[in-house]
């Protein structure tokens, strides 16, 4: 008898089951169970890394979309983020929660790189200014209010420094705590708090609310 093992093709595993009998759907929805174990496994098992990828793809994509205001560009940047994650994963030593923050950190750098390289900020600003007028003029339906708010937000966000944009996005759209944002940015929670305040001051120049909290459309 010759010792051998093979037929990976026979083990093509399209299910979401990962090593150790943890169901990935449960895992993705869980905040507690066995995370560090999976990170450990992912270092030696690319299959597990792929499952982690599936868990975090949505979050990274949404973060990129909120930062870039364009889904196609967001997909490109999301690709960059995960390819960099693969490249550098051997250096990552942390828990699953830290892994998520690590991905946000890579995403933040990738988004900022993209903005710098393409000068998209300026183009977007110009475009947004034009779009607000056309979108709001043409639409009278219930979506009109959403379109106006969305365009207003884009315009306001793009006037901020990239770091402030990051903080606003992580705080209000990804719902991260200040401590988590601090970890992403490699900063202290106190610093993030004061930068958040400055970012809000910047936003206030463009988005104002009346006493009832309704934004004022000027």
């Amino acid at each position: 008898m010759v010792r051998c093992a093979f037929i990976i093709v026979m083990t093509v595993d399209t299910s979401l089951k990962i090593s150790g009998d943890i169901d990935i759907r449960e895992y993705c929805n869980s905040n507690e169970v066995g995370q560090s174990r999976l990170i450990e496994q992912a270092h030696s098992e690319p299959a597990v890394f792929v499952q982690l990828y599936r868990c975090y793809y949505d979050a990274v994509f949404r973060y990129c979309a909120h930062r870039l205001f364009d889904r196609v560009t967001a997909e490109d940047v999301t690709s960059t983020v995960f390819l960099k994650a693969v490249e550098n994963f051997h250096r990552f030593k942390g828990s699953e929660k830290q892994f998520r923050n690590w991905l946000y950190k890579i995403a933040t750098n990738a988004v900022n790189d993209h903005l710098r390289k393409t000068a998209r900020r300026k183009n977007a600003l110009k475009l947004v200014g034009e779009t607000i007028k056309t979108e709001t003029a043409d639409r009278k339906d219930a979506d009109n209010d959403n379109a106006v708010k969305s365009a207003l937000l884009k315009q306001a966000m793009l006037t901020l420094k990239p770091r402030y944009q990051t903080i606003i996005t992580l705080r209000f759209f990804e719902n991260l705590k200040l401590t988590e944002i601090a970890e992403v940015l490699g900063s202290s929670p106190g610093t993030v708090r004061s930068q958040l305040s400055r970012a809000l001051v910047g936003l206030r120049k463009h988005i104002a609310f009346d006493k009832q909290g309704v934004y004022e459309d000027d």
Binding site: M10, E45, R71, T78, L200, G213
Partner: protein, 272 residues
């Protein structure tokens, strides 16, 4: 939290963004990651566990891996060194320019696959996989997916490989994987009535481990060509590969125009 912060939080929460992920992009990126991991991971072999999902992969890779394994088995049977066997197998793999396979899946659906391989590199170049309702044609420039029931064609402007790796590299990686897992392979010679000749029966057993279920597979090998004739899975996990590769042919001239995909009349076309 200041009043403005609260107001802005509500304002942000109420906005409906166009931020729903597109899962075709996710799947596409997943494949890129697999390729990237193959380059970066010191344990490249594990990528085999997560080859593509489609039947084409199962079929095409099944054909190839069986070829690779049987090469090694037959060479090892002649008591040559493993290294030499590997080398010879790689060389032998490179001599294959096409594979034609008929397969049966666990739902008894039939599939036919053709793969054209660059003999000098072992890399696949074109493939054609007819899986009944779904036809996939991979060409260097584009990959076409035709869903017959919906008369829908999806086109990707790239070659989506049937196998995630170079076929010539497949065997090298597999040997490493063999070293890491405990399994057994037995082979015997017996006269097969249906073929009317003596053939080699290769019986493979891999115990369940981790997320991989127990597997027992038998394939028959032509002692003259050192190539497998067919394969049958006796035990395997659900969704883990085809039930059988009913026939395998090598270096058969590929029908002219097989990889020239033409969009059927009236079909809806989606570019991705």
């Amino acid at each position: 939290m200041t009043d403005y912060e609260k107001q802005f939080e509500k304002f942000a929460r109420d906005i409906k963004f166009d931020d729903s992920p597109d899962y075709s992009h996710r799947d596409k990126l997943e494949k890129k990651l697999l390729n990237a991991m193959a380059k970066h991971s010191p344990q490249q072999i594990n990528i085999w566990r997560i080859i593509m999902k489609s039947k084409i992969t199962k079929f095409a890779v099944a054909a190839v891996i069986i070829a690779a394994v049987v090469f090694s088995v037959t060479l090892l049977d002649k008591s040559v060194t493993t290294a030499y066997a590997v080398e010879q197998t790689i060389e032998a793999m490179r001599s294959i320019s096409s594979i034609h396979a008929y397969c049966t899946d666990w739902d008894d659906s039939k599939g036919e696959t053709w793969v054209q391989i660059k003999p000098e590199t072992g890399e696949e170049e074109y493939y054609y996989a007819d899986q009944g309702n779904l036809l996939i044609v991979g060409t260097p420039q584009k990959t076409y997916y035709y869903y017959r029931d919906k008369n829908l064609v999806r086109i990707r402007n790239e070659y989506v490989p049937a196998s995630e790796v170079r076929l010539s590299g497949f065997f090298e990686d597999m040997v490493k994987w063999v070293e890491q897992h405990d399994g057994d392979i037995e082979f015997n010679s017996q006269f097969e009535e249906d073929l009317r000749k003596e053939i080699i029966i290769v019986h493979v057993y891999v115990p369940a481990q981790g997320d991989m279920e127990e597997k027992e597979i038998v394939f028959r090998v032509d002692p003259q060509t050192k190539l497998p004739i067919d394969m049958k899975a006796i035990k395997t996990g659900p969704g883990e590969g085809v039930k059988s590769v009913d026939s395998l042919e090598y270096n058969v001239p590929i029908p002219q125009g097989l990889f020239d995909f033409e969009i059927p009349e009236g079909a809806e076309v989606v570019y991705e």
